[in-house]
């Protein structure tokens, strides 16, 4: 009896994105990283009207419980960010590296993707680069074949991490469904 989803459509830009939405921490602050990339469609073209949301623990692995994501005070890490893609399909967050929330779990960013043409939100995860031993212990990554698994793992660059979202096609990003989703 759940309420169905519907596409975010093309006209969300004056409602959902907000000033500082992608800056979970001020860019350039000690410990800040840039997490950025492009969103592509099934033809390999960029998607200039996608919206990404990021939800993550702090570097200490704790789940943020503070408000203030919409009107940031510049000091409180709320763990939530929202960024639209630009005309080149590029999105960018300034944030902190997530910590592991429990000792035997890999840290990751939880992500939702919205776009015109996408009838229902997509869930995925962005894992910072991981080694083979860690993959073997992770319940999600260890169950994926290597090519699919690689779509969930960011690559490092000078400022932080790069992660592209491919909605469709050969290197299609792994999208997730959770128990109870139908």
């Amino acid at each position: 009896m759940t309420t169905p989803g519907q596409t975010v459509g093309p006209f969300f830009h004056y409602a959902l994105p907000y000033a500082g939405g992608g800056d979970l921490v001020p860019p350039g602050r000690a410990g800040a990283i840039r997490l950025h990339g492009h969103v592509y469609d099934g033809a390999g073209d960029v998607v200039p009207d996608a919206l990404l949301e990021l939800w993550q623990p702090g570097p200490d692995g704790r789940v943020p419980r503070a408000g203030g994501s919409l009107r940031r005070d510049g000091w409180t890490f709320t763990g939530f960010g929202r960024a639209g893609t630009d005309a080149t399909g590029h999105y960018s967050f300034s944030t902190l590296m997530p910590g592991a929330t429990s000792p035997r779990r890999l840290p990751f960013f939880a992500v939702t993707v919205f776009a015109r043409g996408l009838t229902h939100r997509l869930f995925t995860r962005i894992y910072p680069p991981v080694d083979a031993a860690a993959i073997a212990n992770d319940p999600l990554l260890s169950g994926l074949d290597p090519a699919r698994r690689d779509t969930l793992v960011a690559t490092p660059d000078e400022q932080g991490l790069v992660f592209d979202v491919r909605l469709q096609g050969n290197n299609e990003t792994v999208f997730l469904t959770f128990p109870g989703h139908r």
């Binding site: 009896m1 519907q6 789940v63 009838t119 959770f178």
Partner: protein, 247 residues
């Protein structure tokens, strides 16, 4: 943009017939009548994941994020917007019946003439200088939300020749955990455009589709002021028990 409405409608009916009785509650992501979906829907199966700690919680929003006046879309400019003034209110629960308390609700919509205050909306209907069409509120302890706005108009789009969207309000919702995140649209009862619209019809189950349609509620209607519509929203189940909530 060469297909006719009749061709799109035939596709819609064919897919609905194929899905009949399957009880799918959510829209098809692979839904060719909605042309923009063709290159934007994943073609591989979703991967089942058990939510981990961060996914068992949702972001927190508070009164530092949302001012009380943001729930009134009719007072954002110097004058009153044109159109049918309207209360839209309802309750948000999760799949287990728990209220979604103190959580963010965001809405956006076209004006009474069916025009969005968005630079990419080229529909030659007038912009209303007194209406932007975006609002926010926080649910109360019982999961209730309430907006004051004007009724949006239907508008044309370029999916196919003579394509028109039924009037709707976009809703963005957070739940008690991250996996409940939902963006959807609220429609108005009895809209003649429903059978023609590939977006509402991407939900192929008629019973599920009906849950996108608000009810006129005379108890919400305010004498001499505004009509009232009720729309209750049910998110998927939370993976966290209420006992695990913050004190």
């Amino acid at each position: 943009m060469t297909e006719t409405q009749a061709e799109i409608t035939a596709e819609i009916r064919r897919i609905e017939a194929g899905d009949a009785g399957r009880g799918v509650e959510q829209p098809r992501r692979d839904y060719p009548p909605y042309r923009s979906s063709l290159l934007r829907h994943p073609t591989k199966s979703m991967v089942h994941a058990d939510p981990e700690t961060i996914e068992l919680w949702a972001p927190c929003f508070g009164h530092q994020d949302v001012g009380a006046a943001e729930a009134d879309l009719t007072i954002q400019h110097a004058g009153e917007p044109l159109g049918e003034r309207m209360v839209v209110a309802g309750r948000i629960t999760d799949g287990d019946g728990h209220p979604v308390a103190h959580q963010l609700v965001e809405v956006w919509q076209a004006n009474a003439g069916g025009r969005y205050a968005h630079q990419r909306d080229q529909h030659p209907a007038p912009l209303d200088p007194n209406f932007t069409g975006a609002g926010r509120c926080l649910t109360d302890a019982d999961g209730r939300y309430r907006f004051l706005t004007i009724r949006p108009g239907p508008y044309p789009w370029r999916n196919h020749t003579n394509a028109w969207r039924p009037a709707h309000i976009h809703f963005s919702l957070f739940g008690r955990d991250f996996t409940q995140r939902l963006v959807t649209q609220m429609y108005f009862p009895g809209d003649p455009l429903f059978p023609l619209d590939p977006i509402i019809q991407s939900v192929t189950d008629p019973a599920a589709r009906s849950r996108l349609i608000a009810e006129y509620d005379h108890d919400l209607t305010q004498p001499e002021y505004a009509t009232g519509y009720r729309w209750d929203i049910v998110l998927t189940g939370s993976h966290r028990t209420p006992l695990e909530d913050d004190a």
